[in-house]
Symmetry: D2
Subunit: 440 residues, 4 copies
């Protein structure tokens, strides 16, 4: 691989910061055309002729479009850029009467909404990919109230999934040498444990921490997703330790364990396109290479659905757990400050851990784990490793999961086996300790 | 734009040259699986779990596959990864009976061949994009004898068109500071005027020449298409001048005219995906910026279809030109060495120029210019500028076009207008001199 | 210039971040040797053999040396690494008796202190240049109490002046895309108008501001000196405007004037080596190129010596100004809040401006301007351009210069002429307005 | 180390390729001034004012100076920029009468030739370092006929030694991804085994070869010195194997031995400034890191002085070897084609190897090895490892050393010990096999 040339090659894009020639190829549009008119031009012959110039105008028009005009724009995409029902009907009938390659190909052509080609052409603009992602973010905000736009969203998602294929993504270590313009985005996007300004950020990037993000070459200013990692000496059972101030210099040199304590998606416009799966596995590879002392890779994760499930148990809805005991646990944990009362807490410790183990190891939605975080990590091939008492006593932690957290462990040689066991046999792979708790 | 970070970001990919950890996540495959089996795994649940590892195995299996096995592989892609006819029929019927969004969406899903998703997953491998392009190159070699593979080719082309969208391409100046590993590819790929080794290449990259190429970030070692430009003082009427040895230092500083004398596509696997259009226009922009003295941007192009057309005229097939005169011209130019006989040549000069002007300005295939090179440049919005006598007296030049060549001129402010005139009114825009010749 | 290769070339140094092999070439030193012993080894034959390994040990020993041992170390450099008086005497006598080339060369050799060669060898260590600069910074702190160390300081300065020759420095724009690790140094080093954390820094790097710094390739993490520039529409007469929050987007696009409002040296160890002169001129060139709308380049500078001079005038010491008027002005400006009283301030305006003009345009130290800031800029070829009333009403501004500030203007075509006029004729070049004030 | 920023930082220099503003700060010089006049200006006050502009003019004047004017220029440097004899005499007398710090400092100032400051100022020009190196190269060509210029050469060497201090050099791998503009310099500069064009070069950069060069940031287009390395499976005893065409893929992956088969200095202007010592050691470190399978690092070196020494032995001059035997060997090897006659060659094998062993292990110039190549490598701490029969049967190889070559081995842990043994005790460290031969 030609690293040298590659760097230079790509600086070409980046150098475009210099003033771009204002080339008046598009004649009299002069800002007087609406974005809808520009889109029509772009998809017509004019778009073919003038290359990226019209695409740039659409991108500029989008950037200038006030949010209250968004609905109009997307409605136009539904009304003017959907497949032609007559043509589809005709092609469908042709296929049913003679299902050959030609008929299939024809059918394939007419069912593809013309707005897909429109989106591909918008992408040709300088910064076009960011424009497309931004359009989908805006679209997402309208979907709930305007479900008729879902067909447009499907087209955006289809193209963006293809363009943000894993093969085009770049994993990058983010650290204190990273430009401030990127770092400030970490502060903005961190979704799990909020970053309190630059000093907090600096601690998150200290020698006993790591941060990795995926980037796309066509949107190099914007992280797509990032994960924060703590290098420690044993499986973390407490998020407070991780967020504390003291840098562990020894861990920076010879940690045995890497804890993935926060994963944040950054781009609203890319929701539904999954990067986390790839990110964790590649970061495991990267860290293995960088620090051979690492033996264990695990998350320290919340259990967001536990208390909700416990309520259902109390109501006897899904009988994985004695409803009477569930009721008692609910009542005990509903008392303000219960966790600070050592005796009370100690009395509740084993029953709650047992309940949580049962929830995580047995409760399902369909064939998959019921808890959404469990579903993500176990579906990725992780193992349900360890339950942690009093791991997150923030109000949110207490409310969601009675302060408990869980570690999911990623072991590269087991990932496929675990994943297969879950998918084909429905088995959730757990450590002995969790198994014991769940069975108790 | 954050040039700095972008460079570093991308060096991450490039640094992968270092040894990649051999992570045995895929268990016992150990090279004993065929590429077909690996593809099946990749598209199944196993592929989801093990991320890019299986994709890498497919890429390696492809690299090791002997050419005589290619047909098997692509045949499998036809047989095992085409849409399910039953499902398509069912969805087609459902749509015709109730043509709503759901039915349309369902129809769209079932008509997409599963091999598209397979190709998307192969792309996830390190170097996956190059693998996909290489597959399509191999496929292309089989198409003529195996037209049933065209449906597979259509899927490759569909995805590659999307992935090699103009918005993802990077224009790069190629010069004597470019790595040798890239430069040797220019020597290999130059299709118009062969490069005779490194010394010839150095002359093509001398100060009075420019060379630009498009690259894709996921295939940064490989130019996709490149154009060679000569900086000169007036519209070149002769390719010999351009290929000569003498460097014009004055032109290097203050040329008035940039001649695009050679455009070469490099990737067989990307045939049918058009880059030339974008390339020329962006190079015009780049050069305008770099060298404000440039006033004229034009090609010096062959006229590959002229003599064939003249034969048809002689046969009276397409009466744009008196058949008798055509016959005389054909006969005269069929004599060996006619062009070296000054008197003969002079006698033929005007008649042949008039014939060529008529051919270029009037002959059609459908509504478009009949000559393929004319079709490309005029379709891009260039103007038919000047006919050149004795411009290429190589055997090929004499045989194709009686030694004549033509300049197509690109003027940014006129490109759209010219293109529209051609597309909507069928008008070929020409200079006055060509118009006069064609009318004579 | 081969930009591409250059980048890669230099990344080689930078990649040294990866762990450096611990090569035990230096045998049993094992941390038991003092820095003095290591220096002796380094200057002996051992140093020649083991290349940079011993230099690295010296650098490490220096980094670990407690400040209270610094004096010992530098004292050793005086005592053990000074020229040999006997040898110098002998060579001096030889020269006086026969002043030929050989005698001169011999004399040159023996008068060069051996510690210069020691410092050159320390510089061979990875990070050696930073070590040498750090040594001189420490030395600087001892000089006042230990004037006998000045001879050592002279050697450090001699070598560092040569190594930080303008030809080796790199000018860099510093902006919001610069790594946080560099940006935090701006916060630390800003000496004129303190930067109040990251938000203030961001404002200093907003689109209507510029910041440039000099770096040295062997110390690429450390700015040497930086200048902050405000892009504005007219000669700034007020530092408050520059430090205010509102970003002037119009100025970012089409400013007529660039104000150099703060220049800060960063490296204590490089004091006495002048960069400011080169920095300003090169930034003028850079900005001219980037923004052709710029017509005026000027500082907005304090007048640190004005009130001190006015006191001397009041005492009749240096009769450039009537002592009686000086006394009145001193008394008026010694009243708390005088500047906030519109009537009082107005009454004092013209007399104080006249006094300041006379101070700047006429007061001398030797043949040079008496004010140290004036000395720097006028010595660089700037012109004394404009006096500004109520330009800096901070306590410091009032105390030093009754709230006045001054613009020095840099005009490339005049720089040499102005400089020559000052140096050869002792003339201070002023604008008409300042001249009028000074003469009044 | 902040790699990211460093890269960008340095691209700033490199970007200077773009046209530099012609800033007419130096008034009417307009090319009418001689280089001698420009130098005078540069060293005067004018030089201070106009920063690097005058230095640039001197650099341009040097580039345009015809070689026949070089002698004038350097003669001016002797006559007009030498120390003032009167001032030196006065300072020398002052010192002898009162040898204190002040007197010493004063003496140091006056003995430094003013041309050193002139050279420092020339270095400030863009490309100034290359100008200074080029001046010294030209000077070197004049020294033999004009020994009076040696004092000027000493000043150039003094400054260049300091500027090309090991701490400022960058080691770079050179390979097929290196820009053609650098690679062509390898072809030009290879001094040991000529490179026969691009194909030969490509073989020298094949996977079983390595090439490393030192560069200086201020002259990044120019290698200073480079070494070519062959990766092989055992100590090479034959240069033909190394220069052969067949690439050893196994060696590329798992060589046990790295053979340094060619070291070439590139810059005539840097002669006498030693880089080879550092280069070999750092390359040993680099390769150890890259390829842990490497156990042995050795040269395959010529023995340039052997036959000359043998002649002296024959004349009984330096009695390390029986003069009668020396005469016989000389006579036998003076017969054309002796080495191709198997019987003759076999008969001569042991006597010649013994003679060569004795030459290398015992013959001296002063306390150092007599053979110049031996002096270099043994002085660097290498060990005299193995003598090779029929290792280089080229005419030159036969003439210099009867076709024999020698390996010097570099073992990092022994380097210092070997060096010390040579320097302090005069012992040449040899392998047992060489010792046995030498003693026989």
């Amino acid at each position: 691989m030609n690293r040298l040339f590659f760097l230079d090659l790509l600086s070409t894009i980046a150098d475009r910061g210099r003033e771009i020639l204002d080339i008046s190829t598009t004649g009299g549009s002069g800002g007087t055309k609406t974005i809808e008119q520009l889109c029509r031009d772009l998809l017509s012959g004019r778009g073919e002729a003038t290359g990226t110039a019209l695409a740039r105008e659409v991108a500029q028009a989008w950037a200038a479009l006030p949010p209250e005009r968004h609905l109009d724009f997307f409605t136009t995409l539904v009304q003017a850029y959907s497949p032609d029902p007559e043509a589809v009907t005709k092609a469908a009938q042709a296929y049913t009467s003679a299902p050959d390659h030609q008929a299939l190909a024809r059918l394939g052509q007419v069912v593809e909404p013309p707005r897909q080609e429109l989106i591909r052409r918008i992408n040709m603009a300088p910064g076009g990919t960011a424009t497309v992602v931004s359009m989908r973010a805006a679209l997402g905000r309208l979907l709930r109230d305007h479900p008729e736009l879902k067909v447009v969203d499907a087209d955006f998602q289809h193209l963006l999934s293809s363009w943000f294929n894993r093969g085009f993504l770049v994993l990058r270590s983010v650290n204190w040498n990273t430009p401030a313009s990127i770092l400030e985005k970490l502060i903005a996007y961190e979704a799990v444990h909020e970053i309190q300004g630059w000093e907090d950020l600096r601690r998150r990037l200290a020698p006993d921490r790591r941060c990795f993000a995926f980037f796309h070459p066509a949107m190099s200013d914007e992280p797509l997703i990032f994960v924060e990692v703590a290098l420690v000496h044993k499986l973390s059972d407490n998020v407070g330790d991780i967020l504390s101030d003291a840098v562990d210099e020894a861990a920076a040199r010879s940690a045995s364990t890497a804890i993935f304590y926060s994963i944040s998606n950054c781009q609203e416009g890319l929701r539904g396109i999954s990067f986390g799966n790839f990110l964790i596995k590649q970061v495991v590879e990267e860290l293995s290479r960088e620090m051979p002392s690492l033996r264990t890779f695990a998350t320290l994760s919340p259990i967001p659905g536990f208390m909700g499930w416990l309520k259902e148990q109390a109501e006897g809805k899904e009988p994985l757990f004695p409803s009477e005991e569930a009721r008692l646990l609910l009542e005990a944990t509903s008392q303000r400050g219960w966790h600070a009362d050592a005796d009370k807490a100690e009395a509740l410790r084993m029953p709650l851990l047992r309940a949580a183990a049962r929830y995580l190891a047995k409760a399902r939605r369909g064939d998959m784990p019921r808890d959404p975080v469990a579903r993500f990590h176990l579906g990725n091939g992780a193992r349900l490793e360890q339950l942690n008492w009093m791991a997150n006593t923030s109000p949110k932690g207490l409310k969601e999961s009675a302060g408990m957290m869980v570690n999911y462990a990623y072991r590269l040689p087991e990932i496929e086996r675990n994943h297969e066991a879950l998918l084909t046999e429905g088995r959730i792979i757990t450590s002995r300790s969790v198994r014991t708790l769940a069975a108790a």
